[in-house]
């Protein structure tokens, strides 16, 4: 059994220790957001946070994640109470098919956690890792910008910031 902490909850996982995290998230824990895209760390559809770092969950075996804190898109909010980044993606309608979007959002989340006020160039450079095939890039960039602005506005009013 491998102990995993996902979105603040502890789980005992009986999958083979060599199983990449993605399969455990999707099948064992029934979390839909992280997606299988390539299994090769080339597209970012499976991106989640390990502590504060974005990782390719399709590559990371669960045995390497003991004691780490995993955050998936489900950890940022719910459909009834979306978090700032989720609200921004809805407001910008930043999806077409949407398959790449959870990975995009987790990569953006990592940026906003470390730098709540990135420049447009920093956002573009940071998002380089993730692929989108529908061509939603312009909206994704706008949504990350919007989330950043919302977080800063909230911080100015000393409301809770994006970091849980």
């Amino acid at each position: 059994m491998i102990a995993l902490t996902v979105n603040g909850q502890s789980h005992e996982i009986d999958d083979d220790p060599g199983t990449p995290l993605l399969y455990v998230l999707r099948n064992t824990l029934e979390l839909n957001a992280a997606k299988f895209g390539c299994g090769l760390g080339q597209c970012g559809a499976c991106t989640v946070l390990m502590d504060d770092q974005p990782i390719f969950s399709c590559l990371f075996p669960i045995a390497a994640l003991r004691g780490r804190k995993i955050t998936t898109l489900e950890g940022l909010g719910t459909i009834a109470d979306p978090g700032p980044l989720q609200r921004a993606f809805i407001e910008e309608q930043a999806a077409q098919c949407g398959y790449c979007i959870p990975g995009m959002m987790m990569r953006a989340q990592a940026l906003l956690q470390s730098n709540p006020a990135p420049s447009d160039a920093q956002i573009r450079a940071h998002m380089e890792t993730n692929l989108c095939r529908c061509g939603t890039h312009m909206r994704i960039l706008r949504a990350v910008r919007r989330a950043s602005d919302a977080i800063q506005k909230a911080a100015a009013h000393s409301k809770p910031a994006i970091k849980p």
């Binding site: 809805i90 398959y99 573009r124 450079a125 960039l141």
Partner: protein
């Protein structure tokens, strides 16, 4: 021949099969003759194929409205737009209705969700069906209250009278009320009174997609579901000589190995167990391969030499001034892939001799026929249900994955089986967009007008969809293999390789030939916009080459050769919003514009692009793109902008980055490192979309209109920046070659 007898189903014509005559009931025949409808009158949109109103709209006793469409959500936002048009005419709130999409037991058969046809076909059907249902409800209430219908209105699910009577839709409907044929004419709402059409309603599907809801077939979990992976042959013609399965069978979780001829798959309890077993099985298999592919460096000369069926699709003669100058050029397009971010997936259950499959196919009904043929089952023993997938952009591996799930589920009756392809399988086995060669020759008169135009396009088929049995790839590997139907050219006006090969310009003398090549060495099928992508690239690049020869501004040159005011307006709008007349002319920067009316019958788009070119590396960067679009009545402007922005980026990616690679035996672009696509660093710095709305005009579709003008706009901008005319897709400038010629 009666009016009804002469009505030939559009789908029957599309299929090219024997004419299927849809007959009206006697009641409707009477109505038709009373209205003196001309013999060719068609019902609006897909109502022509499925005329029963309750096939599209049902209302239960509580007043709950359910809409049915044969079209599928592919990430283009069609669900939201379809609800908008129906809710508009039903006079209800958009969120109060439910929409059921493509399902062979529940919805109309609308063929494929493709070709920017959804709003034209299904949107038009639902708009008219909803208006007719509303009028039936009004008439029913009028009869009930013995009031003239003019005194009643439909309002948010109720019929109300001017003297204060009020009754819910649910209290008016009976079982038979909506079980009636649609009529040709509908009493449509005045566009000036629209509440929903023309509004940028947020898409219904996005909240679940950004919060981890169940959104895709990939997310389905059924009780006791097993996971499968297929071991695909390493090349098109590979034959499985031997496979040692003993060790693989002993791997953890392995439930079953499925082998049938060259078809090999493994089922396991858990998904990653299936992946590991698939890799083990790959190692255990020995294949016999042969070199069946053309020499890659000689692809275009190979294609040029293949025998072809030639059809002259335009032969126009008219008065023109004597030609004074002549120009010719040839353009090429490499094989390119759909490249879904999520590899194809399906879930199937085989039980009691029947199969149910959840699939992201673009056409559940054609898939049902193909699966029935593959499994030798009657069609009513195959149930195909659409669930969303990763964006497909045409005929990709979705149908094949459904076939895989059905084949594997048949070997494991009573258990749901989920199968997903691996990245390398998607990259090497999906049907690609076909390579193309075009040749064009034109002459100018002394005023610089085009006196003659001759154009040829040479390509394979642009559709091998599974509507005819044998086009499901997994069935080719079975013993005995299912025979592949011979490739067929798609008929105009939509066309295939010849889509948009006929210029929209008013050239007095023009000839266009389509050379249809049947030899198909690489698997190909419909990739978003089909032949339009390379045909418009060729036509619109050559228009700029001719404008240069004539020494006329390229925008002015296009306008001179157009009669269609809507075409002129998108060009003028794009040019004006872009600032064409005062466009920057700095070194290493250039601007280009291109225009197309998609399929010569769909939406109009003009796109202006500014690029910069790095003279050292030859790298082309799009700085900004400005598009003007006219798709008739705009239903959801933000949805249209999303499609056009996306179309420009996707087409830019094809144009600047993408070519399938292969050797004599295998496809070698096996993943995103071998087939790079556009990343954030190279997407345009800005994209603007200007929509020219046409209230009350027919829906023309938006999903694929940006694909075709984009490559020529880029190539024209590169030519302006560098003096170099690039005529092969993808566009490549060798390092150091970017200086002015």
């Amino acid at each position: 021949m009666s009016a009804a007898d002469s009505r030939i189903s559009r789908r029957a014509m599309l299929k090219g099969s024997a004419a299927l005559v849809v007959s009206f009931s006697l009641f409707d025949l009477r109505k038709l003759s009373a209205q003196q409808v001309p013999a060719h009158a068609k019902l609006p949109g897909s109502l022509d194929d499925e005329p029963m109103l309750d096939a599209w709209i049902r209302i239960d006793a509580q007043g709950k409205i359910t809409l049915f469409t044969g079209k599928a959500e592919l990430g283009q936002g069609v669900k939201t737009s379809l609800v908008q048009v129906a809710a508009e005419e039903l006079a209800v709130a958009a969120h109060s209705v439910e929409l059921i999409t493509a399902d062979t037991q529940r919805t109309p058969d609308e063929g494929y969700t493709a070709g920017s046809h959804s709003m034209q076909d299904s949107g038009t059907a639902l708009l008219n069906a909803a208006a007719q249902v509303r009028e039936i409800l009004l008439s029913t209430a009028a009869a009930k209250w013995s009031l003239p219908k003019q005194r009643l209105t439909a309002d948010n699910g109720f019929v109300v009278s001017d003297d204060g009577k009020r009754i819910g839709y649910g209290d008016l409907v009976t079982d038979e009320l909506l079980h009636t044929q649609a009529t040709v004419e509908s009493k449509l709402t005045d566009p000036r009174k629209y509440r929903l059409i023309g509004q940028s309603l947020p898409r219904f599907d996005i909240p679940a997609k950004v919060t981890g809801g169940v959104a895709y077939v990939h997310d389905m979990r059924m009780p006791g579901m097993a996971h499968a992976r297929v071991v695909r042959p390493p090349s098109y013609s590979a034959r499985l000589r031997e496979v040692k399965t003993d060790d693989v069978e002993k791997l953890p979780g392995v439930v079953k190995i499925v082998r049938n001829g060259n078809y090999l798959a493994v089922v396991a309890e858990r998904e990653y167990q299936a992946v590991m077993a698939m890799y083990a099985l790959e190692q255990a298999a020995t294949w016999e391969e042969s070199a069946t592919l053309p020499e890659p460096a000689e692809l275009f000369s190979f294609l040029d030499k293949q025998p072809a069926q030639t059809t002259t699709i335009l032969d126009r003669h008219g008065p023109a001034d004597a030609p004074t100058r002549q120009l010719e050029a040839s353009y090429r397009r490499s094989y390119q892939m759909h490249g879904a971010i999520g590899p194809a997936c399906a879930v199937a259950l085989f039980k009691d001799g029947a199969v149910t499959v959840w699939t992201h196919s673009q056409g559940v009904y054609p898939l049902r026929s193909a699966v029935a043929k593959m499994l030798a089952l009657p069609e009513d023993h195959v149930h195909c249900i659409h669930r969303e997938g990763s964006g497909c952009y045409g005929h990709n591996a979705a149908d094949d994955a459904a076939a895989d799930a059905c084949l594997i589920a048949r070997a494991l009756p009573g258990r749901h089986v989920r199968v997903q392809w691996m990245r390398e399988q998607e990259h090497t086995w999906e049907p690609f967009g076909a390579a193309m060669i075009t040749k064009v020759r034109a002459s100018l008169d002394r005023k610089g007008n085009i006196a003659s135009w001759e154009y040829e396009v040479r390509s394979n088929t642009h559709s091998t969809r599974p509507n005819r049995g044998g086009n499901l790839m997994p069935s080719w590997h079975l013993d005995p293999p299912q025979a592949r139907p011979p490739p067929r050219a798609l008929p105009l006006p939509d066309g295939g390789g010849d889509r948009n090969a006929i210029p929209w310009y008013n050239f007095a003398n023009a000839r266009v030939d389509h050379h249809f090549v049947t030899n198909t060495p690489l698997r190909v099928s419909a990739l978003r916009s089909l032949g339009a992508y390379a045909n418009i690239f060729s036509i619109e690049s050559f228009m700029d080459e001719l404008a240069t020869l004539a020494n006329i501004d390229p925008v002015e040159f296009r306008l001179r050769h157009l009669d269609d005011d809507r075409a002129k307006e998108v060009i003028r709008t794009a040019a004006q919003k872009f600032g064409w007349s005062k466009r920057p002319k700095a070194s290493g920067r250039g601007c280009g514009l291109a225009f197309a009316r998609y399929k010569n019958q769909g939406g109009y788009a003009a796109i202006a692009i500014e690029v910069s070119v790095d003279k050292q590396t030859g790298q082309i960067q799009i700085l900004r793109a400005v598009a003007a679009f006219d798709g008739g009545q705009a239903i959801n402007p933000d949805g249209i902008r999303n499609q056009i922005e996306g179309g420009i980026v996707q087409s830019s990616s094809w144009t600047l980055h993408e070519a399938v690679t292969f050797d004599r035996t295998r496809i070698t672009s096996r993943d995103w490192s071998g087939y790079p696509i556009m990343r954030f660093s190279s997407v345009p710095h800005s994209i603007e979309v200007h929509i020219i709305d046409r209230p009350g005009m027919p829906f023309l579709g938006a999903g694929e209109v940006a694909q075709a003008p984009t490559p020529a706009a880029i190539a024209n901008a590169v030519a302006a920046a560098t003096g170099r005319r690039l005529r092969e897709l993808p566009l490549r400038l060798e390092p150091g070659a970017a200086g002015k010629e």
